[in-house]
Symmetry: C2
């Protein structure tokens, strides 16, 4: 009995229909962890030609369904269930604990926005950047575009994610080859505890949802450590969940950030991305107190070029998109009015 | 054998898993029309407690899945399959030919944006407005906020949609009570053929996708008729599909509009909305040639108030959201550069 069967035996089940060439194959039980649902399984095996539905406690009663063309990998890393499958709709898809992390088709919007919003938004051109998480390599790829960056530290807890990305997502993992990268397989919080105060121009937190291994990355101690590790005027940009699904989480984090980043700025921006729940994801972006009073909402430099990897042109980010991404729907503007900077 | 069984017998099937209280119920065949997938059925009956997955030829290999709490209505109108069900995730959901049209939870973003973008964007305050489609009443509800509007003509082809909305979506259908409304159950194109030239300040097309009854609403003759029916400086705002899924359709429509709206403006804006494929939907917004050269991208008047229905405050639209909604991802800006106005 493998992990999926054990989980099923625990009474936690979800279901998904298999669709073949005009023939309904029936439903398959799938393993479910606290963070979401495992891939479609039948007796613990992934079902090629079936459908994957992303279920999660953070978006109950709904889920994106993706037709699977071929299962490429299904494994258990030291920390989580990892699967990779091919689909016609989104190309190659990587899931952790049954939750989509990255797909060929739409990864660029997330990677570009979580990276260039802070790196183009801070007042001084960034030289040293820390990435927490981001094991697929996409954020590092985008950082390599910035010619002025001298060193990229990266603290990813799960080597399995990096390995899978190198194998199945070469266009994401290309950044791993940049000589400026210092990749450390370690706990991001442990790393930040030891980091010298005032080290970083920017810290980018590319995490999974606040259920499972990434839960601590949404809590106060982690944000305090990040604040300490920033240079004055430096910025954090963290995966900040969805305005449509998680306003209570966003309000809580924004309130905490207002307190921690006193004298600096606290902002929230978002990007659209079809394979994340509700089709969008946001970023909490905060700067540490500084003499300069640059607004993160207005880019301080031009979008970066191709960098040493000779990357293709940016597909989502632009100076105009930068500014527009901080404009939130009226309901969110109202809910966050007390916490965000003007 | 009812319609769902007939369609299944035609070999067009899709599948969906039913999930009960921890027990997988198995997959159910569901009817599928060209426009999408019918609701979950087992021997032609909707399955309460199961899951609905929205499948469609315009978003192959993917679909939003919504857990059904209770099926409220399943019927065949004169034109299409109509179903209404309750869900925990999105409240009450209305589908046409198996495609989600409106849900309690997120309808406001679409209704506010498709209405106030044109009505706040045109240079003269609107007095006479035509709605094509929009049978759920949401667009009319939003138009009623505009105090200066004197007459609202509405051409909806399917009385069944209005009836279902009045019964299950009272917060959408409230606009039907406004004495300024002239509701006509008729074909929008037929109506426009007979309409006098230069009648309308704005025409809003709240249609389903360009497969099935709404297909003609994406084609040249319809756009030419709308152009003719507009006053100089008047605007159309049409449901314009998704930037993530339908760039070829959007490019085609933009190209056509550039030709038809010569001397005027052609623009594209979008809103986020979790229950539409890819989590967003766009609008093609064009103005008829005029002496004034107002840009639709900048609102010409303040967001409207509660109107005679004493509606709650706007939840999505604001002057800032108006401007930001015209800022497109870099890939779309590039693809549409030759067609959109500056």
């Amino acid at each position: 009995m493998d992990r999926f069967d054990q989980l099923t035996a625990n009474g936690k089940v979800a279901a998904l229909a298999g669709v073949g060439a005009g023939v309904a194959l029936g439903a398959y039980l799938l393993g479910r962890r606290s963070g979401g649902a495992g891939l479609v399984t039948s007796s613990g095996r992934l079902v090629a030609g079936g459908w994957f539905t992303e279920l999660g406690t953070l978006w109950p009663g709904q889920g994106l369904s993706i037709q699977i063309k071929k299962v490429l990998l299904k494994t258990r890393t030291k920390f989580q269930d990892l699967a990779v499958f091919e689909s016609d709709a989104f190309g190659t898809v990587l899931t952790l604990d049954g939750v989509v992390q990255v797909t060929d088709r739409d990864e660029f919007s997330y990677q570009e926005m979580i990276t260039h919003l802070p790196l183009c938004g801070i007042s001084r051109a960034p030289k040293r950047v820390l990435v927490v998480g981001g094991g697929d390599g996409g954020v590092v790829r985008e950082i390599t575009r910035h010619a002025g960056v001298e060193k990229i530290d990266m603290a990813e807890i799960d080597a399995g994610v990096c390995e899978a990305s190198k194998k199945f997502f070469p266009q994401l993992a290309c950044g791993f080859a940049d000589p400026r990268l210092n990749l450390m397989i370690c706990d991001g919080i442990d790393y930040l505890r030891k980091a010298a105060e005032g080290t970083y121009d920017a810290i980018i937190v590319d995490s999974s949802d606040p259920v499972g291994p990434a839960e601590v990355l949404f809590q106060r101690p982690f944000f305090e450590l990040m604040h300490r590790a920033l240079k004055p005027g430096g910025a954090i940009c963290t995966q900040g969940e969805s305005l449509w699904l998680h306003m209570p989480i966003i309000e809580e984090v924004a309130k905490m950030c207002k307190d921690i980043f006193k004298g600096g700025t606290v902002n929230y921006a978002y990007t659209t991305i079809p394979t994340y729940p509700s089709g969008q994801i946001g970023f909490m972006i905060c700067t540490k107190k500084d003499d300069k009073k640059a607004s993160m909402k207005v880019p301080q430099r031009a979008p970066p070029g191709p960098g040493p990897m000779n990357l293709p042109p940016l597909r989502y980010y632009s100076a105009e998109v930068h500014k527009a991404s901080f404009v939130l729907p009226q309901y969110a503007t109202s809910a966050l009015a007390g916490y965000l900077s003007h």
